[in-house]
């Protein structure tokens, strides 16, 4: 028993970077999990990855004006992300084009512009790689950024919760009731971009998008209500981070993929045996139905 405890905690006791990685990953999970639940509800699940590419022109402008300054590039990325998200949201509200298609169009244009801008300077440095951080490299400023963003997100989600849920599930009703659905949605998009860009700079794309989406998709197999899904998503994200970091430590595999694969494993398990829509459940229900049918035919 003692050996297990030691194995599970010693790496974090010994090394500062492990503690920071855990803290950063947990801060991310607590905010990204709930956001991910909303993304799944709104069918915007691929938005996270697309956003990683959409912010390139802002990053490029930041680089072109201020050189390799992380804050300039992050600010540029943030501004671009917000612009893209808001424009896409606007187009989807005003035209027949749906949100995912609208966003796809905007992010592709943005990406093309970004690639062009990067090539203007002549140096062929991979800007995005310079911008994106890694979970193992969290310094004080980075940790502060991710926890601050996480706190702000949680507070905002708490305030907007009702409106967001209704907006997701019955937007016409909300509009009829005169609710500020559009504002809530814009606020949600802003929160999303903030989390993504800050997350990219601190933790890298794979990790941020993965922690945002995988626990959320897994959570819906265990609980019904949006609120409990959000809590479960956060918890699953935290658990995956912990497990992933340990595997990365003991098995010599890179940290972010380890965390994401841990989350992925949880997802597969959820799909298989989750009580709400899991495959096992499906099989059991179909068997029960057949048994009942046979019974009713027999009697």
């Amino acid at each position: 028993m003692n050996l297990w405890l030691e194995l599970l905690t010693q790496p974090f006791i010994d090394y500062g970077f492990m503690r920071r990685a855990l803290a950063g990953a947990w801060a991310l999970s607590f905010a990204a999990g709930p956001l991910g639940v909303f993304l799944v509800l709104r069918r915007l699940s691929l938005m996270g990855d697309a956003m990683a590419h959409a912010i390139l022109p802002g990053v490029a402008v930041g680089f072109l004006t201020a050189g390799l300054s992380l804050s300039a590039m992050t600010l540029g990325g943030l501004v671009t992300g917000v612009v893209v998200a808001l424009l896409a949201g606007l187009v989807s509200r005003l035209t027949p084009l749906r949100e995912d298609a609208s966003f796809a169009a905007f992010y592709l244009v943005s990406l093309g512009l970004g690639v062009l801008l990067v090539s203007l300077r002549g140096t062929n440095m991979d800007l995005i790689h310079v911008l994106f951080g890694t979970v193992l490299g969290l310094n004080d400023a980075a940790l502060l950024l991710v926890t601050a963003v996480s706190s702000v997100t949680l507070l905002a989600l708490a305030a907007l919760f009702r409106v967001l849920v209704i907006e997701c599930l019955d937007p016409l009703f909300l509009r009829a009731e005169g609710g500020a659905g559009a504002w809530a949605h814009m606020a949600f998009l802003l929160l999303l971009v903030l989390n993504l860009v800050a997350g990219f700079q601190v933790l890298g794309t794979l990790m941020v998008v993965g922690i945002m989406m995988l626990p959320a998709t897994a959570a819906r197999f265990w609980v019904r209500s949006v609120g409990s899904q959000m809590i479960l998503a956060a918890a699953l994200g935290a658990a995956s981070s912990y497990a992933g970091l340990l595997v990365s430590y003991y098995q010599d595999v890179p940290a972010s993929p380890a965390i994401i694969l841990a989350a992925g494993l949880l997802y597969f398990v959820s799909v298989a045996i989750g009580p709400h829509g899991g495959i096992l459940q499906l099989v059991r229900q179909s068997r029960q139905r057949r048994a009942r049918l046979l019974e009713s035919m027999g009697s």
Binding site: G16, F17, T134
Partner: protein
């Protein structure tokens, strides 16, 4: 009346297309003939050497300019044009320019191809590092990091000044073949430059004598200094897997931190364009400091201290000495 505008429209468009085609024809033959030999060097270090040997007789262009990354370089049409018009190409060889074969095809280069590293005794990537890790831990975390795998030939031969001399002589020989009329001048300039390189080599070895052998160790994120370590007796702890492309395993990072603490490494060196967050994390946890930026496979902009090959070497040498002295 209706037909004439159509005919004139098609006539005009045909004329426009012809003019456009004519404008896009290769310009090489339209250039005013100059008596300067057109030389293209693959990257800034070679360009500087060629400049030293050839001086004003040459019209030199570098494909990968100062502060460029020759490993991850993507050629553009402009490079193909420059190469197509060149009479001499100076390249490093040893697998450094992975993008060159395709560019050569695209450019239709028909000039003289000079391999600067001809005659250099190559070393293999991973040799040093494996020797270092042997008594430490059994696992080898030499993940590929976009530059080469353990077992590949290390192309950074110019880090050893005596290899630099070989480079210079090869360049002189190539220039002499392309421009026999001035062969003597090239040879003279090459000899003078080689002397300066050898002087610098001696001075550097002298400085190193003052550092106790146990302290002759340096840590970098790039395995570009193998020849330096081998030639001048410096142990290079090259932290592979910390480049901008790869994310290390947490276990690997922990072992690196252990190594720094155990070996008492005082300073570590960043590569240009490497994500510095991991390095900073390591320095904060071990108390080692970041020793500055070393130039491994590119020069700095012209006019800066590291804008020439000798300048680059002196820059690196100074920083390495400071780091070793603690």
């Amino acid at each position: 009346m209706r037909r004439r505008p159509a005919r004139s429209l098609s006539a005009w468009s045909a004329a426009a297309v012809l003019v456009l085609c004519g404008a896009m024809l290769p310009r090489a033959h339209a250039q005013a003939p100059s008596d300067r030999i057109r030389v293209v060097a693959t990257f800034s270090i070679l360009a500087d050497m060629v400049r030293e040997v050839g001086g004003d007789r040459l019209d030199i262009q570098a494909i990968v300019g100062p502060n460029g990354d020759a490993h991850a370089f993507e050629p553009t049409p402009r490079d193909a044009r420059a190469l197509g018009a060149a009479q001499v190409l100076v390249r490093n060889g040893l697998g450094f320019e992975g993008w060159l074969p395709r560019l050569l095809d695209a450019a239709g280069f028909k000039g003289l191809d000079v391999v600067a590293s001809d005659g250099v005794r190559p070393r293999v990537l991973g040799d040093e590092e494996q020797a270092l890790e042997a008594h430490g831990h059994e696992t080898h975390d030499h993940e590929p990091h976009g530059h080469g795998h353990a077992g590949d030939v290390d192309p950074h031969a110019w880090q050893d000044l005596s290899n630099g001399v070989i480079y210079v002589r090869n360049i002189a020989r190539g220039l002499a073949a392309a421009d026999p009329a001035h062969a003597d001048e090239y040879r003279r300039r090459a000899d003078a430059y080689a002397l300066r390189l050898q002087d610098e080599d001696r001075a550097w070895r002298n400085d190193l004598e003052a550092v106790p052998p146990a302290r002759r160790v340096m840590m970098t994120t790039h395995d570009a200094f193998g020849y330096l370590g081998q030639a001048y007796g410096i142990r290079i702890v090259s932290v592979l897997g910390l480049s901008s492309e790869a994310e290390p395993a947490a276990g690997a990072l922990a072992r690196i931190i252990d190594q720094i603490r155990d070996r008492g490494i005082r300073a570590m060196f960043l590569e240009k364009a490497v994500n510095p967050t991991l390095m900073r994390r390591i320095t904060q946890e071990t108390g080692a400091r970041i020793g500055g930026t070393l130039y491994s496979d590119t020069l700095d902009a012209p006019g800066t201290p590291a804008g020439t090959y000798l300048g680059m070497f002196r820059w690196n040498a100074r920083l390495i000495l400071e780091a070793m002295r603690g």
